[in-house]
Symmetry: none
Subunit: 242 residues, 4 copies
């Protein structure tokens, strides 16, 4: 259990052969597990509880999943997969839109909104991901983070397009994409601090403004300069500079 390197022999991925039956079972179990994992934490949830909630016997759970950890991975990656599928679709659309001369800003807002909505739908998975990624196998963790990377890359492309079109200032594109993702995810992860927004809709508009603020920020232009620019010529007292 401790070592994530010296890992157990992987058996056949599951005992259930019928593909459809397998998938349905996995989904039912995972759904039950998600609630429990979030409520009690992954480690404080026993397989027995999951089985009970899913209306199965303990043994059956292990017919559908090789290990408890696999349930976790299923939950994390299935959220991701869903997101990626969505983006794949968008990617095609966007090519068309670009050719129709759509503004990068509109494209971005469109994509970002989609992502935010998705994050809202998969809010529980997202939270779980933040909390329990480390409980995955090394290999699984790697796979998961690669998925994240791909999603981030999708936004990098959009931003790059905007920069190329001259609509956004140049700047560290990768960083900006990172920030945008983090802010969208914070709706799930730091939800307690956003309790003033009861639904995503209320959060979405201000979030988009902020996102645009980020896109339009010029990270080439150092803040030191910015500070100078505003003409106030304020200099921090020496003792604060240390």
């Amino acid at each position: 259990m401790k070592s994530q390197v010296l890992r157990k022999k992987r058996k056949a991925p599951s005992q259930v052969t019928d593909e459809k039956r397998l998938q349905e079972g996995q989904e039912r179990i995972a759904a039950a597990a998600l609630n429990l994992f979030l409520q009690n934490g992954y480690h404080n949830t026993s397989v027995r509880e999951v089985a009970q909630k899913a209306g199965l016997s303990v043994g059956s759970v292990f017919n559908y999943f090789t290990s408890k950890e696999e349930i976790l991975f299923f939950l994390l990656s299935s959220g991701q997969v869903r997101a990626e599928i969505g983006f794949q679709k968008q990617r095609a659309e966007f090519e068309r839109l670009k050719q129709d001369g759509a503004s990068p800003r509109a494209l971005f807002l469109r994509a970002y909104e989609r992502y935010a909505v998705l994050t809202d739908e998969l809010r529980r998975n997202t939270v779980l991901a933040y909390q329990e990624t480390k409980s995955l196998t090394l290999a699984e963790r790697k796979r998961f983070l690669e998925g994240e990377e791909r999603i981030q890359h999708f936004f990098e492309e959009i931003i790059a397009y905007g920069v190329a079109q001259g609509e956004f200032p140049a700047g560290n594109i990768r960083l900006k994409a990172h920030c945008l993702l983090v802010l969208a995810q914070s709706w799930a992860v730091r939800h307690w601090a956003l309790s003033s927004f009861t639904k995503l809709d209320e959060y979405l508009e201000p979030l988009k403004s902020i996102a645009l603020g980020i896109l339009e920020s010029d990270s080439q232009q150092t803040p030191a300069l910015v500070a100078a620019q505003d003409g106030k010529d304020f200099v921090l007292p020496r003792e604060l500079t240390s």
Copy 2:
């Protein structure tokens, strides 16, 4: 002992009476625990491992902490406490600076930089907080989140000052503060995505630009308007609107 609830003995918070010894011991143990918790996760780290790493016997660990969970709380809250102490000091400074006519922008950058540096120093604690806050007792979790709230509030005040001075546009101050915190923390929490920055220094300048971008974003002005404003008059095709 579990069921002997009615006979449960309230115990002193720790066995060690000498204040200084206690503190040193707690810190040594916590330091050992932090590494292990991050590496293996809180639940996959046994007290024995912590004791070993700290150069103590298992029993001794429980002379310094009442429970394993108390170690976790110690780690999370000690980071917080350190942050809060820093802000308390700044608060005084800032009052002086304001009277000297310091620009809100400078004030903010000063504070934000401080916070980022702190988050970097306490990077491991921050990560732990994201992952394991849920492992705390309800009461402790509450206390912890209240601490986060206070820190956020500090930034809200600064932003409010900037708005009052007319330097920042009005907007959802609370939301902006939230975003700023999240971005600073993401240096710790999503560090894998920022591997292009080897040290905080490199991340700090672009981050400040982005932060200013957020502050200057106008969340009153709805993005819808913005979209209209840019004159491209682009309308999303119907099928994407659903």
Copy 3:
């Protein structure tokens, strides 16, 4: 888990669902435990030892009992239950016997003998009860003592019947019943002092005489009077009266 009070999961009384298997298992474990508890005491007997003696793994014991303490309660109350069932049967018989004009003395002797035999059979349980009742939960202890009370009550009724019939003198019936129970139990509890009797049979006859002696004693008539009655007119010297 100790401090995780708020997350505590209520658990089913035992893991094993098959009623018959459950019962058999519980009895096997309890039997093993009884010997060990008596030999080493409840607290000096580890669950591991019990499991070993019962031919099970440690974990399995907890499939049949929720806690070690539950084993203790099972032992104590199962003895009691058996006694109570016996008395229930007798109660019916006695109603018939009364109507047949049976002498209260005969009734009592019949019942007392039964109880003595039972106590002998459950000797080990009885000893355990004297020693470990305090190790029970408050609620369980209460339940257990209520059972004792019911048994005592059964004898109170018989005595009351004898008094009503004019066969026994009036007197504190409750007290007498208490004494009778205690004496019967002492065969188990203070067995070391009765080593001159190798089997219950030898003890039983003299015990019955003594029991009758108690029933016929007149606790209304104060011993002081008794002392006077015997004509010796002995008066304790002053200094001994204090």
Copy 4:
């Protein structure tokens, strides 16, 4: 801890040399321990708690006692010692009284009352004895039971005297003495069943009557005979005789 045969090397009985200081310390500690042992049980009481209650450090307790178990033995045997001392005194008195022609009945009542009063005073020790004798070393347990034997023997002598004087019927003297002790101790041990008596005084008089009833019972004359004698000629139906 488990084996009571392979026992640890006994060190010097205590670290404190000054005899008086030692005794005082032991008594203070034992007094504190008695309450705790009764309240929580011997095994659920830690030495730390005892030390705390006695106003000492943990280490100091082990200056006065070699082990925790020694405290228990101290408590059990000190009660006994006190009882024995009392009886030693009485023994002398009784010789005188006998020569003065005192009635055995009066002698007995005198002694029995004394014992009852003592048991009341040492009620807590008595209860502890019933519960925790088994926690003693084999050797200590033996010593303790020998003490009990001596006390019982004292009563046997008195009864024998009464029989010799023709005041009590012959019968199993040892058994009767046993019963008398048990009944007196039941005031402590089964106190919950005697709650109708608020103080010993109320219990004492009826108890004395019952005690006389026991003394006057004729355990030579078998109860079978007794049953015949009462002329009712009642015969138990066959099915009950088995």
